[in-house]
């Protein structure tokens, strides 16, 4: 079309002639519209009088309002541009995350000084949702993880005739790291995702604005009970997961490896140290805070459409799980260095 228009050099009018056209549809009109717009842009007069009845008025209607100066051109993003865009976004995201952490901290301080309040029912809901409701899935996964650990380790330990050490191996690894990590991952998928989806939908529906409109801080009212709830429930759930895991190992030891129940428990508890339990619970506390922060951050920052809520939910789960792995590494390294 550009080439055709270039040939119009010196012309003053663009005239459409299709008087005898019997039937037509929007596609033709769209083509005429594009030509007419371009002609109008070049300052040419557009004559639509020789178009079929009905077509001319519609074209007039389409041309009546000039395109908005705010219209956005379509633009395909190249590979480099995409990478560049992501890099450029990093400082902004970092600032947002730090800002969010700062707000949560402020909110926590307000809570500690008794000036922040939230609905007690919301806190109970978090307790129920991420505590009691998560029990079946935590039972199943922890029990199976205990079984797997016992099976795999027994294969190696059998070579040395040391099957009895399955008990301590399962016990220590469950309590110190596997229990908290497994609980963390289950909660990231269940609760972290639900936090992001709930707060994200509230964002879409202007419900968060409605809170702000009453002078109720969404940080105090939505984020704080979720962070507190999960920070309390994750360690509790971890203790439960530890017990279930050890029970799984116990089943394998007693039923398959012919270890007597008394010998199994003796070995399992003999190698246990209180410090392992504390380290495990520290993991759990960190994970709980991490998962709730990821979920709430993604929810609060969610865009105002359905796809954005989906994206927020995915990001919440992915960030939580990556965060759990990184936190575990950091804690493990620290405790290895200080030799606990």
């Amino acid at each position: 079309m550009d080439a055709a228009l270039a040939e119009l050099e010196g012309a003053s009018t663009v005239e459409f002639r299709a008087r005898d056209l019997e039937s037509w549809d929007s596609l033709l009109l769209a083509a005429f519209n594009a030509v007419a717009r371009e002609a109008a842009r070049l300052g040419l007069r557009v004559d639509v009088s020789a178009l079929p009845d009905g077509m001319a008025p519609m074209l007039d209607m389409a041309l009546a309002v000039a395109p908005s100066d705010q219209a956005r051109g379509q633009h395909d993003e190249g590979f480099l541009e995409m990478i560049g865009g992501k890099v450029v976004a990093v400082p902004g995201i970092t600032r947002n995350v730090l800002e969010f952490m700062g707000e949560v901290t402020q909110s926590l301080l307000r809570f500690c000084s008794g000036r922040a309040s939230f609905s007690r029912r919301d806190l109970w809901n978090v307790f129920r949702e991420c505590g009691a409701d998560a029990l079946p899935i935590v039972t199943l996964t922890s029990l199976l993880l205990g079984l797997i650990l016992a099976f795999v380790s027994s294969m190696q330990l059998k070579l040395f005739g040391a099957e009895i050490y399955v008990a301590s191996l399962v016990g220590v690894s469950m309590v110190r790291v596997m229990g908290p990590v497994l609980t963390g991952i289950v909660l990231a998928g269940r609760t972290g995702a639900s936090f992001a989806a709930v707060i994200g939908s509230m964002q879409v529906n202007e419900e968060v604005d409605a809170l702000t409109g009453f002078g109720i801080s969404p940080m105090d009212f939505l984020v704080l009970p979720r962070v507190l709830g999960l920070a309390i429930m994750t360690p509790l759930l971890t203790i439960y997961s530890d017990i279930a895991g050890i029970a799984g190992g116990f089943l394998v030891g007693v039923l398959m490896l012919d270890i007597t129940p008394a010998a199994y428990m003796d070995n399992a508890l003999g190698f246990m140290k209180m410090s392992y339990v504390w380290i495990g619970l520290l993991h759990a506390l960190v994970f709980g805070i991490l998962i709730s922060l990821c979920g709430c951050y993604q929810g609060i920052r969610s865009g105002r459409n359905a796809a954005a809520v989906g994206h927020a939910t995915t990001a919440a789960v992915v960030n939580s799980i990556v965060g759990i792995i990184i936190a575990t590494s950091v804690i493990t390294i620290i405790f290895t260095v200080v030799d606990i």
Binding site: Q70, S117, S119, V198, S201, M202, N205, E206, E207, D209, A210, T212, G213, F214, G215, I216, S217, F221
Partner: protein, 267 residues
Amino acid sequence: MNSTIPSPSIQNRTETAVRADDVTVAYGSRIIQQGLDFRIGKGDIFVIMGGSGCGKSSLLRVLMGLNPPAHGTVWYGEKDFWGASAAERDAIMRRTGVMFQSGALWTSRTLAENVALPLEYYTDLSPRDIRELASLKLALVGLAGFEDFYPSEISCGMKKRAGLARALALDPDVVYFDEPSAGLDPVSAARLDELILQLRDTLGMTVVVVTHELASIFAIASNSVFLDAKTKTMIAGGNPHDLLRHGPDDVVEFLTRGKGHGHGGDK
């Protein structure tokens, strides 16, 4: 700008509830409206009007404290809203109610719980008193008996009325309405207008309404501003009946021909 505002007598008669002083509304670098100067008197029903997409709702978000203005000052009485501390802002927002265009009810709570939430948050009333207050506010907007319904179980018009009941929960000084009659049939819309008038008269609230429904404008407005999308500023202000006689041509055309008239939102 003041020269285009008729009837200065009305302008100075009452105390000021909210005042906009050279306010610019923008999203990033995209300016929506600029140079907005107007005052909303106590007990006024102040209408922000204009064609679709001229920035009425965006201005409302600035006035009610959800988005900061790009430039200028919003005064609540003697207090500079956006210059005040977060605690002072919360205190002002506690004294304002908002009815959002979609209702924006908290969907995981029943209607009674929606109205009760601000009361639970701010008062020490017993659960029984709160429940009774919530029932009263719902009854005021014609929703008696719907206390235990969830927002998803009621119609769009009922959601709007429930949103109004919630906005009234804390007996606010200023109530903001974003397109109260959009999506309502003419009878429901007229009833809502009557309700707004009644609430102003009985409770002495200041009411700020964003609308492009002519029927509403003439039925309730005691003062107004007209926002123009082309010049990105207010081109007139005052009582709509006066504007109809003395206003600029664009405003008269809007008020007589109903340009921009129709149902649905302008988002």
